[in-house]
């Protein structure tokens, strides 16, 4: 089984557009949406939800007993999550990372770690393949854990049904969900754009990929808005053994198609659609050897 993760560093460069069109073109595959706090893959794939499960994330600390206001927890917390008032302590759930140190140091057992539902994940069927996706509760933590969870399910689903390929739509940035979406995959594809921001974030996300030693492809979206920057990306790829697998024109038909819930590869006369197909032909060689 081969797994491909599509990432970008910078958001909005076209990851999901490329991923959803790849998913339509692929066969014998399972799709995963690892952008769990802003998932969009389901919008075009329009799947039927078959199974829904609760995601229980890591715990946070709660004051459940009689606090004697000794201040030990506040002192021990490395995340500045505990503040002391005159009579009581307050735990900031945004800052709390659920390490359990406060619970351990509390002399009167007034603090407990509590886990709760932090979102849901779904196994769905689309016209093209099974889609494993999730919805992290707005503002919740542990997106990396949720990504690991849905990837496991996708692998099991692919195994059970003898699927050959898993296509993974990643999250922007370089943090925990991105790292969790790269762990153990065969190929990474960076979708970037020829802007100063795009290049900077491209280099950063490639630094992360290097930790995993994954064969990397790059594609430059909207390459014609700045040819000088496109050339810089080319040169970076050449120097770093990244396979430049294609470039895509700036094409207003892309958002138009999306709004009509259509795939850009099906749009006659769309340059971007043709280019995405061409890129898929190359990626396919790797995903379906022999």
């Amino acid at each position: 089984m081969k797994q491909l993760t599509i990432i970008s560093g910078k958001g909005g460069t076209g990851k999901t557009t490329v991923a959803s069109n790849f998913i339509k073109l692929a066969r014998d595959h399972v799709a995963v949406d690892c952008d769990v706090d802003a998932a969009n893959l389901h919008i075009l794939l329009n799947p039927d939800i078959k199974e829904k499960e609760e995601f229980i994330g890591g715990p946070v600390a709660k004051v459940t007993g009689e606090c004697i206001n000794c201040g030990k927890c506040e002192e021990a917390c490395r995340f500045d999550a505990i503040s002391n008032s005159e009579t009581d302590i307050e735990i900031d759930s945004v800052r709390c990372e659920g390490c359990g140190v406060c619970e351990y140091v509390c002399p009167v057992n007034a603090i407990e770690l509590k886990s709760g539902r932090q979102g849901d994940y779904y196994i769905s069927e689309s016209k093209f393949c099974t889609l494993v996706h999730a919805r992290l509760n707005p503002g919740a933590e542990n997106s990396g854990l949720l990504v690991a969870k849905i990837r496991n399910i996708a692998e099991d689903t692919a195994d059970k049904n003898s699927k050959r390929v898993i296509i993974i739509d990643g999250a922007p940035g370089i943090g925990c969900p991105v790292i969790a979406s790269l762990n153990g995959v065969d190929y990474a594809m960076i979708v970037t754009e020829p802007t100063l921001s795009g290049i900077s974030d491209f280099i950063k996300v490639f630094e992360v990929i290097k930790f995993f030693n994954i064969k990397t492809f790059a594609c430059v979206n909207k390459y014609d808005i700045n040819l000088t920057n496109t050339e810089k990306i080319y040169n970076f790829c050449l120097k770093n053994d990244i396979e430049l697998i294609g470039k895509i024109h700036y094409d207003d038909k892309v958002p138009m198609c999306l709004s009509n819930k259509e795939f850009i590869i099906d749009e006659p006369g769309s340059e971007a659609g043709k280019e995405i197909k061409k890129i898929w032909e190359k990626v396919k060689e790797y995903l379906y050897p022999n």
């Binding site: 560093g9 910078k10 958001g11 909005g12 460069t13 999901t16 769990v36 706090d37 802003a38 969009n40 919008i43 890591g58 715990p59 021990a76 490395r78 995340f79 945004v94 800052r95 990372e97 390490c99 359990g100 140190v101 351990y104 140091v105 992290l136 707005p138 503002g139 933590e141 997106s143 990396g144 922007p172 940035g173 370089i174 943090g175 925990c176 969900p177 991105v178 790292i179 754009e193 020829p194 802007t195 921001s197 795009g198 900077s200 950063k204 996300v205 630094e207 992360v208 930790f211 909207k222 808005i225 700045n226 920057n229 700036y250 207003d252 958002p255 138009m256 999306l258 709004s259 819930k261």
Partner: protein, 298 residues
């Protein structure tokens, strides 16, 4: 009130008590947060600009700040003195992140999973656990024209300590004057961390199904946190009217629409702001600042 300060050219930092934190956020990435945040900062002239998108910080390309200080951000990782022969299984049992394991009485440490909480030092046998500083990124401080106090965080690639960098930025938040926060994309913890101290949040979106889907989640986050907000629609003209209709139906203020224009995209690609593209944008962003000030009663 800070407008008055700007007009009079006073040192805004000395005006105690007047503080306005505006965060610029977006569920979907690449909708124009940084464009809006930097254009706002340039329109205000005197303010603090904080780039909280520490995984992909890009505001500096548009403001070209002169960086004067770089501070390394560290967390503490444990190391284990194996020669003491002490049983370290308590550390492994305690660690909520599975960063410490004991396999065949050998301790194994997974640094990428460690949050640096210090738990293993606390529960481990005395003298067998020590800590050292590990760099997870840095915070840069500088200034940009005309009067922008610039801060940016930079997560080290490979580290998962996004919030450690944001937490370090928190320490530099001005107590007065106008603060503009450029947020990371998404609706998870790092976005919450960036918006948590805001008096007002601007949600930038684009008029597509992706933009709308992610906007709705961001709105839920801000509602839960009781932060007032308004919407800016970028690349207006692409896609459909659903974002605008949603806002109208739900009485959500649309602060601005930025048209879809390949020329703007070309300016952006070179690190140029909307204001450099067309000076008339400055007054539009000034009006937004006034409007926000009025809405939250400053």
């Amino acid at each position: 009130m800070y407008n008055l300060i700007l007009e009079q050219g006073l040192e805004w930092e000395e005006e105690a008590g007047c503080k306005l934190i505006i965060s610029v956020a977006s569920g979907k990435g690449g909708t124009g947060k940084t464009t809006v945040a930097t254009s706002l900062a340039l329109s205000a002239g005197y303010c603090q600009l904080m780039d909280y998108d520490v995984e992909a910080p890009n505001a500096s390309f548009f403001l070209n700040p002169d960086i004067k200080h770089v501070k390394k951000v560290t967390i503490k990782h444990p190391y284990f003195l194996k020669e003491t022969g002490a049983d370290l299984s308590k550390c492994a049992e305690f660690c909520h992140y599975n960063a410490v394991a004991v396999v065949k009485s050998e301790v194994v440490f997974f640094p990428e999973l460690c949050h640096g909480c210090g738990g293993c030092l606390l529960v481990g046998p005395e003298g067998a656990v020590r800590e050292r500083d590990v760099i997870v990124g840095e915070v840069e401080k500088g200034s940009a024209d005309p009067g922008i106090n610039f801060f940016k965080g930079n997560l080290k690639p490979g580290s998962m300590r996004t919030v450690s960098i944001q937490s370090e930025l928190d320490k530099s938040l001005e107590k007065s004057g106008l603060v503009i926060i450029d947020c990371p994309p998404g609706n998870a913890c790092s976005m919450v961390f960036a918006v948590k101290d805001s008096d007002y949040s601007i949600l930038v979106t684009e008029p597509t199904p992706y933009g709308l889907n992610d906007l709705l989640i961001s709105i839920e986050v801000l509602k839960n946190m009781n932060i007032p907000y308004g919407v800016i629609i970028n690349r207006d003209g692409i896609g459909n009217d659903e974002v605008e209709n949603y806002c109208k139906r739900n009485n959500i203020k649309i602060l601005l629409k930025i048209p879809n224009d390949i020329e703007i995209a070309k300016f952006y690609s070179r690190g140029q702001t909307l204001i450099e593209y067309d000076k008339s944008w400055k007054s539009k962003f000034e009006s937004i600042l006034k409007e926000i000030e009025k809405e939250i009663g400053r």
